[in-house]
């Protein structure tokens, strides 16, 4: 038996297959432990080989984009949290990145550094889950538990900061909900010291594991041209050789000051995407370690005089500008007055390029809040990636694309 199977040539959709008698239709239904939440595949099988795959999504569609037209720019952050629920802070950062671009706000340096640290923690959390789930779907439960143990530490850090573990709804227009304190910084330093050991454990468990490699190498191959043609981004694209990372190409927040590498691979298969994510955890730790030592002091929200955020209670009760600003922000018919314009802003979320196209009509809520969902665009590739493979490769490929149903359906 060869050490690794030869890479599967890129399959093409064939039109004449599904009507043959011996083909069997299998419903890989919305309730299935390996589909990572509710998505449905209708597979046409020739024995165990998949001949055609038709996905059916929309089971988790909750009208997030319609809600974006009703909730205002600070309220909508609670909804945006719930899109990619594995790394919620990054969605908030992405949303407020676009809104602040629309309003023309420049954040304070302290806020930029804190948002960067939170973003990278979210990236570590997302990649740990994806790597752990990749192992879990293929049967390796230990790596999954090592990864989830570390994610508990991240949840504790976020809970220290905002009171909620999972959907902190922490960013606001022009800043953050609260400032952070020394205990948060100490927890992060401890996390940065402790994670590499778990990361090494996962690496030792999986990287040279015969079963894991056999099940992921050569499976779900995506070539570089196809990655670009299909709009892939994030680790899916970088695993196929498209070296594109918005943190370096369009620097935002504090990424311009920090030193880190972009990880890419030419492999194009599930194993390549897994390795890209694993290495990105290490790069994110580098970013966090640098940023947490260099957090600038100063205010975390933009100045009250710029009239974009709700001032803190000290300013509200002790200055007339703070009082006026507080009134303006709280009364529902006043709020912000953005320009009557539209803007597209994108950030490098752990899953890919997460962008928000925000159209404003001059009111406190958006006219249209469109989320460009990386999971949706990656899931569209699944029928092409999976054709010609076996049923047991489906969890491997879905896991490597990191499909999160709430972002898929919104």
């Amino acid at each position: 038996m060869p050490v690794a199977p030869a890479p599967v040539p890129f399959p093409t959709i064939s039109d004449d297959t599904p009507d043959k008698e011996y083909l069997y239709t299998l419903n890989f239904g919305p309730q299935h432990p390996a589909t990572h939440t509710t998505l449905r595949l209708v597979l046409t099988l020739d024995g165990e080989t998949i001949v055609k795959c038709v996905p059916d999504i929309g089971y988790l569609h909750s009208g997030f984009e319609k809600l974006g037209e009703d909730l205002d720019y600070n309220q909508y952050v609670t909804i945006v949290d719930r899109m990619n629920y594995i790394s919620p802070i990054y969605n908030e950062i992405a949303w407020h990145h676009s809104v602040e671009k629309l309003l023309g706000i420049e954040l304070t340096p302290r806020c930029k550094y804190i948002r960067t640290i939170l973003g990278e923690l979210a990236r570590v959390s997302d990649h740990l889950l994806c790597v752990g789930a990749a192992a879990l779907d293929l049967g390796g439960i230990t790596a999954f538990l090592y990864a989830f143990n570390q994610r508990e530490h991240i949840y504790n850090i976020i809970e220290t900061m905002s009171g909620q573990r999972f959907h902190p709804s922490f960013t606001r227009v022009g800043g953050l909900m609260f400032d952070v304190n020394e205990s948060w910084i100490d927890q992060i330093r401890k996390f940065v010291k402790d994670l590499p050991r778990a990361h090494d454990d996962i690496t030792r468990l999986l990287n040279r594991n015969r079963i894991f490699i056999d099940r992921t190498k050569g499976v779900g191959y995506l070539s570089t041209e196809d990655a670009i043609r299909r709009g892939a981004s994030g680790p899916v694209a970088r695993g196929s050789g498209v070296v594109r990372d918005l943190r370096k190409d369009e620097p935002y927040l504090a990424y311009g000051d920090l030193d880190f590498n972009v990880i890419a691979s030419k492999g194009g298969d599930c194993a390549a995407r897994y390795l890209v994510r694993l290495e990105e955890i290490r790069e994110s730790l580098k970013i966090i370690a640098q940023a947490v030592e260099n957090i600038p002091s100063g205010p975390v929200n933009v100045d009250v005089a710029e009239r974009f955020g709700i001032p803190d209670k000290g300013a509200t009760y002790r200055s007339i500008e703070g009082l006026i600003q507080h009134f303006e922000m709280i009364m529902t018919n006043r709020r912000w007055e953005p320009p009557i314009e539209e803007v597209y802003g994108a950030v490098e979320a752990p899953n890919g390029e997460l962008g928000f196209y925000v159209v404003s009509a001059g009111e406190g809520h958006a006219w249209r809040a469109r989320c460009r969902p990386p999971s949706f665009i990656h899931f569209a590739m699944l029928p092409y990636l999976i054709e010609g493979h076996q049923i047991s490769d489906v969890p491997a490929v879905i896991g490597s694309l990191n499909i999160i149903a709430a972002e898929l359906d919104r």
Binding site: I57, G58, H61, G63, E65, K66, L67, E69, D70, K101, L102, G104, I228, R229, R230, G231, A232, S233, V242, R244, L246, D249, E250, P339, I340, E341, E342, V343, Y344, A346, E353, G355, Y357, V359, A361, G362, W367, R368, R370, R372, F376, I377, F379, A380, M381, D409, R410
Partner: protein, 165 residues
Amino acid sequence: MQTFKEALDKQFGEGKFLLQKFRDNNRVIVPAEHLLEVMGVLKSVCGFDMLSDVTAVDYLNYPGAVDRYHVVYVLTNTGTAERLIVKVPVNDPDPAVPSLTGMWIGADWIERECYDMFGIVFENHPDLRRILMPEGFASYPLRKDYPLRGRGERHNFETVLRSDS
């Protein structure tokens, strides 16, 4: 590699399409009949090789709006990280634009979602049907005349009893 302004001027004549710039976004408004040609020029000559997003905005009762819908395409140049937003105005009745699945196969699902949510037909799309809403759904939810809480569809779903099958 020319800038998109030079390439469009060269192909179509000076100032044929309205160009706008806001913050760091460059936008160009293209009528639907020229869309495929413009996209071809942008893809081949200017190097915009990735279609990042296709969406639509419903401008019913928007201050200063002229057309009902704009279909918005976000193009990215993976080599230079440059972005361009192309907007196509469309109107009722029968809003329709040509589909870009011939140039970027990744457009198929995104265009399906745009059709599902707004009812804008993408001509020559290989498989234009609803993607997020269930098949029998009769309205287009993201249009401005569709209310936030819906029209009671949640309570009127058809149920399939075990005795029927």
